[in-house]
Structures are given as structure tokens and as C-alpha cells.
Amino acid sequence: MTTSVMGLFDYEDDFLAAARKLKDAGISDLTLMSPIPLHDAEKVLGLGSSAIRRFYLIGAIIGAVSGFALATFSALSFILPTGGRAIIAIPPFLVITYELTILFGVIATLIGFHVVSGLPAWRDKPYDEQTNVNQFSVSVELGEGKDADRIGQIMSSAGAVNVKQVEV
């Protein structure tokens, strides 16, 4: 049972202002919700490049290796000479390699997305449906040394149209 303070904003700039103020006030664990991706919001939270890149790279490499391996070992497991071609024929196997590189890369990226974004997360969290329509929200989970009133006051001063405490 945790309680969070959530401020709803009509305007993007108010919302960003509130976020910055709270940050200055030393509150770092902000949850910023918006109906569209906002680079400024990411900046406020200091989100740089994503860890997802590693998944992408590793997936691709695994894909390449397993692609060639699959072709090679399946060819060797039961020797069927065809058309006077080599059993381990590089050019065609490269095509397989290429395709599997992409396949594994894509799947790895998918996994990466889930790992990094923490989704799926079906349990209840502070959320207001308007933030998926035309409002922005900042929410702060209450805890040690966090005064709900002060946070709320900062939000309203930044132009929050509504400040409420959400219990989940």
C-alpha cells in the first residue's frame, strides 16, 4: 500500500516546469506521464541512450552464428550432394545467416524492450486516464522525507489543474 501525489497539467510547459522544480527540490523519483513521447521530459529525468542497444547487438551476433551453424550442421548431418555443389556452400549459407541475423536481432530487441521498460506491468500503479488523452501528469511516491503538501504546492504553483493523492 503506497501513496503517491499526482499532479495533472493541461500544458506541456507547465508539466515540464513542475518536473524541473521538483527535481530542484531534491525529489528525484518522478514519474512523468504524457500522451506522446516528449524529449524534454526524458531530458529532465536525464535519460540518455538506452541499454536496449546491447540486446540488439548480442541478438544479431547470436543470429549470425546460429544461422551459419544451422545451415552447416544440417548439411553435414546427412550428406546429400546436389548439383556438384559443395556441401558447405558459402554463398547460399550467407543468405540464411543474413536472415537469421535479422530474426534474432528483432526478437532480442523485443526482449530488450520488455526488460528495460519493465513492461508488462499489470499491477496497479498511479495513473490517470487523461494522461493518455490530452493531459500530462507528474506523480511522486510518498516516503521518507517527502511532504505531500509541499510537493502538491510545488505542482499547483507550476500550474497543475488538479493535485490528488493516489493510493495503490
Binding site: 548439411a75 553435414l76 546427412f78 550428406i79 546429400l80 550432394p81 546436389t82 548439383g83 556438384g84 555443389r85 559443395a86 556441401i87 558447405i88
Partner: protein, 250 residues
């Protein structure tokens, strides 16, 4: 064998040459009269189906061996040439590589084989074959009783959706090999095995044998100066050599 050795080994193309047998055929167009006896012989030996009039009209006949006709000139100087076309058992067969399930491959006798049970009927091999000697079972064909009593038990009857082709009468080759083995001979004697077409040919235009055996009749004819290979410019390395017809006048 280490993976590296394997790799080296299997990078070598066209290794059929190192096997015991390399079955080949020569067809002397100067002897061939185009009488079609070989065609019927093939039908009888290999359980080729009777496709019926309508399918024949649609060009769905199944004749592993067919005789093609080419006219030269016009009346009164018209000249008709016959050329039997059967699977050329190419050593670099265009039909083998594209099969996704490996239903056709080059066996250790240098034969281009078709595994009916493995075939899923993509028909790619037939598209890739420049000689058009691969025939597809558009239906499961029936034999009106008691015609089925004639079917050769040594050759499997094909079902619908399966590609089939000339095998150089592989069942006879196997037979000959077994006999050779029983008689403690390492190799099959020249002329010991004859495909149905070769056996039936009255003019002895068709000669069959092992190209790895330099003394075999076929090996000698292979070097004949009239010899050529059909569509060899496609670099399919056929195992069938044709001996060009002699043009003569009285």
C-alpha cells in the same frame, strides 16, 4: 574427422568422380530410327501411369524417355531427325540444388536420383531442368484391373503430388550389384546391366555402362569424334553423350 577436415572435404565440388561407378549412356543418332520401342519399354519397366486422353491433351503425359522430332528443310528436301531425350543424369544438375527438402540429389553412382517419399511437390526441379525430363504426378493414376497385375514390384508406384524421372533403371543396377557381390566380384561387369530402353533398342543405338571403367564399351563410344552433349553450353555436365547423325548421299 575434425570439423576443419570435414569443412575442407565438403568444400570440394562434384565429388561423384571418386566413387566406384559413374553410370553413363551414349545414344547413336545414326543408329536411332525413332521407333519408340524404348519408350514403351520404359513404360513397362518403371510402372509409368496411363494418364488418359484428357491429361495427354493437357501435356501431362509421363514418359521418362521421349523421342523428339526436328525437321530440316521443306518438301521435297524435308529431313526428319529423331533424338531420344531422357534424364541426362547431369553431374552438375540444375535440378538438384533448388529442392527445399533435398528430395533429389546426386547419389554415389553419379546418378541424379529422386526420392519419391521425400518429395513435397514444389516442382522447382522441373522448372530448373533445361531438358524437361522431370514429370509430375498431377493425379494419383489408376490401372484398370487386371492391368495392375503387370506392375513391376521392383519399382514403387508414385502418388499424386510427386515428381518423378528417369533413374537409369536403378533397380536393375542394384540387382546387378547384388549379383556381383554374391559372386565375390567387386564390380559389375560391362554390359551386365542394361536399362529397359537400352535392352529393347533393336538398332543398338543406346549403350549403357560405367564411365569409370576405361574398357567399357560406353567409355570408348564416349570418346567418339561424333560425340556431343545436348545443351552442354549450359555447363550441366550431362552423363549422356549423343553421337551425331552422319549426313550422306549416294
Amino acid at each position: 574427422m575434425s570439423i576443419v577436415e570435414k569443412y575442407k572435404k565438403y568444400r570440394k565440388a562434384g565429388y561423384f568422380d571418386k566413387f566406384d561407378y559413374h553410370w553413363g549412356m551414349t545414344i547413336d543418332l545414326d543408329r536411332c530410327t525413332g521407333c519408340e520401342a524404348c519408350v514403351v519399354a520404359c513404360t513397362a519397366e518403371n510402372n509409368l501411369p496411363i494418364v488418359g486422353e484428357e491429361n495427354y491433351r493437357l501435356k501431362r503425359e509421363i514418359k521418362w524417355l521421349r523421342i523428339e522430332r526436328y525437321w530440316d528443310g521443306d518438301y521435297p528436301d524435308a529431313k526428319l531427325n529423331f533424338i531420344p531425350i531422357l534424364c541426362q543424369q547431369c553431374d552438375q544438375a540444375p535440378c538438384e540444388t533448388p529442392c527445399p527438402v533435398g528430395a533429389t540429389y546426386h547419389n554415389q553412382d553419379g546418378l541424379n536420383t529422386q526420392i519419391y517419399n521425400r518429395c513435397i511437390g514444389t516442382r522447382t526441379c522441373a522448372v530448373y531442368c533445361p531438358y524437361e525430363v522431370r514429370y509430375f504426378n498431377w493425379f494419383t493414376y489408376k490401372w484398370d484391373a487386371p492391368l495392375e497385375q503387370q506392375l513391376n514390384p521392383d519399382v514403387s508406384v508414385r502418388e499424386k503430388g510427386v515428381m518423378e524421372k528417369c533413374t537409369f533403371c536403378i533397380q536393375r543396377i542394384r540387382d546387378a550389384k547384388d549379383t556381383a557381390k554374391d559372386e565375390d566380384r567387386r564390380r559389375v561387369r560391362d554390359g551386365e546391366v542394361k536399362p529397359a530402353c537400352v535392352q529393347s533398342c533393336a538398332t543398338e543405338a543406346l549403350v549403357f555402362g560405367d564411365l569409370n571403367d576405361p574398357d567399357a564399351k560406353v567409355s570408348k563410344l564416349y570418346k567418339d569424334k561424333r560425340g556431343y552433349k545436348v545443351l552442354e553450353e549450359l555447363n550441366t555436365a550431362p552423363s549422356v553423350v549423343y553421337l551425331k547423325k552422319v549426313k550422306a548421299h549416294v
